[in-house]
Amino acid sequence: MTSVPLTTPVIDARGLGRDFTRVSGPLLRRRRERVNAVHDVTFSVAPGEIIGYLGPNGAGKSTTMKMLTGILSPSHGRVRVCGLEPSRQRTLLAGRIGVVFGQRTTLWWDLPLRDSLALTRHLYRVPAADHAARLAELTELLELGPFLATPVRQLSLGQRMRGDLTAALLHAPELLVLDEPTIGLDVVSKSAIREFLLRLNTEQGTTILLTTHDLGDVERLCRRVVVIDHGSLAFDGDLARLRATAPTPRTLVVDLAGPADPIEVAGARTVRVEGPRQWLELSANPAEVIAAVAGAHSVADLTLREPDIEDVVARLYSSGRAAAGAPRREDPVSG
């Protein structure tokens, strides 16, 4: 069977790289050092995907986002976003994508939120009726109503983030790029934003690329993840496959009737004891282990904990270069 390209990718990065010159030391003995922040990154994103772009601090995630949005030109390789070359066609591309950088805002600090949102109609040349309808919809979904009239500098972080998301979406972009959109938010705000993004993706087909350190975001939103480490691609594929690539055992949390010695059963290893609660790392079928534990001890409660994606990614990082040999995603789109 030959595969026929069904759609052009929204993002298509080939051998993308970026070097920085870092200047350090005192004025007269300046040392110049080349930093390879992103190295030979190749991946592509089809319309309608939600991709998690993950990696530890300093991995090169933000640098990649900057190249994709056109505010930084690549040192190596090439990239197309919505069929455009970002750094050369930045202003044109800006009209077709929405971007939110978690630590930054596009809103007017001193003016009511409403004013910044009204301005986007002119910035993106959205017909007045479309703009009004979309604003009403987003106001409802993100519950902006109570603070539309509040100056942005008086908004809480979570409120401001919802305002920024709205500003990035009023022109119905094909692609939404989010760099740490849930940074510093509480559980409720995080979950509101996740549900909103999911809805946006399923109902309007908006493609979403996000970086985050919050693995709750990844588990809720991303079927596919791209992991980057020290500037290089370490993994690209299904979240489920990432788990398989860097297998992490499941944990059984056992609450006993009272404090006891570490449990000893076949197929599990007790890794932690705190009063009546014990943590068992499973190496065999959980059902057998649970039966064995219940048979030998008086158990008050049991929970089976799936490995956190955080554990999985940490394992992937620590396995270092070995991860570079991890299976790469077969590109479904031939360019």
């Binding site: 920085f20 995630k61 933000s62 900057k66 949005t69 056109g70 505010i71 930084l72 030109s73 750094s87 930045r90 202003t91 044109l92 800006a94 009209g95 971007v99 950088f101 630590q103 930054r104 805002t105 596009t106 007017w108 001193d110 003016l111 004013d115 910044s116 009204a118 301005l119 109609r121 002119h122 910035l123 993106y124 040349r125 100056p151």
Partner: protein
């Protein structure tokens, strides 16, 4: 154009939220103008005419200058752009589907329009109330002044845009601003009309862009233009500097956004 009008309106509304700053700057402009005028009156007491200027001319220029401080921002505020380059917020500005220079220009014109309404009129009124000013009766001359003030705003923006843009290469524009806020008021004829400088110094200052901020508009108001063509010559001088500065700003912007790094993760 619609976009720029909307940005202009946001700039105007934004500055109108700074009520205390506006009020205090009217007081400062009024008081500083009065002191400056009294010093000059003392100077002219000894010599009734200096390079064609009378005491009345000099005092009129002082109050015109004080009235223009707000609109042309000779003493600041600097464009937010400098700070935004330093902390990486400029990324958000680059992600707008509008030309970069035009975005900042429209916003600054909004600021100038607010200053015109809120600061220029009250400051000039203080001058009128306290001193005899040499004001023309000819409506054409007032029209020429209006054009000169508009061009002065463009030149003021062009200069401040370049100061801020230096941040892409220097990372810290506070040094640039310190020099600019010192040089601007002297070179523009704000602190002292350029006619009172020694001739060779005045001749040099008259070729620089700062003269377009105060000295040229003042001479147009007073009918004492030194450039050939009278008021038209003065306006042409301002227009040439405005065009040069904006073109340089646009060229450097293109270079900066291609080569230079947006800071911060």
């Amino acid at each position: 154009m619609r976009v720029l009008l909307a940005v202009f309106a946001c700039g105007l509304r934004r500055y109108s939220t700074y009520r205390v700053a506006t009020l205090s700057s009217i007081v400062v402009n009024g008081v500083f103008g009065a002191v400056n005028a009294m010093v000059l009156l003392a100077v002219f007491d000894a010599r009734p005419r200096i390079n064609g200027y009378t005491a009345e001319d000099a005092v009129t220029q002082v109050f015109l200058a004080q009235s223009l401080i707000g609109i042309t921002a000779i003493f600041g505020p600097p464009l937010d752009l400098g700070g935004r380059i330093r902390d990486g917020q400029v990324a958000m500005d680059l992600l707008r589907p509008v030309g970069f220079v035009r975005w900042w220009l429209a916003q600054d014109l909004g600021r100038a329009a607010f200053a015109l309404l809120s600061r220029t009129a009250p400051t000039f009124a203080v001058g009128l109330a306290l001193f005899d000013l040499a004001l023309p009766a000819d409506p054409l001359r007032w029209a020429a002044l209006a054009a000169a003030v508009a061009l002065a705003v463009l030149v003021g923006f062009g200069l401040r845009y370049l100061y801020a843009l230096a941040g892409f290469w220097l990372m810290d524009t506070r040094g640039v601003n310190a020099v600019a806020w010192l040089a601007g008021p002297f070179c523009s004829g704000m602190v002292l009309p350029l006619v009172l400088f020694p001739d060779p110094v005045a001749a040099v200052l008259r070729t620089l862009p700062w003269a377009a901020l105060v000295q040229v508009p003042a001479e147009i108001l007073l009918g004492r233009t030194v450039l050939p063509g009278g008021a038209a010559g003065g306006l042409a001088y301002q227009a040439v500097w405005a065009a040069l500065l904006l073109a340089l700003g646009a060229a450097l912007t293109a270079r900066a956004t291609r080569r230079v790094v947006v800071q911060g993760g």
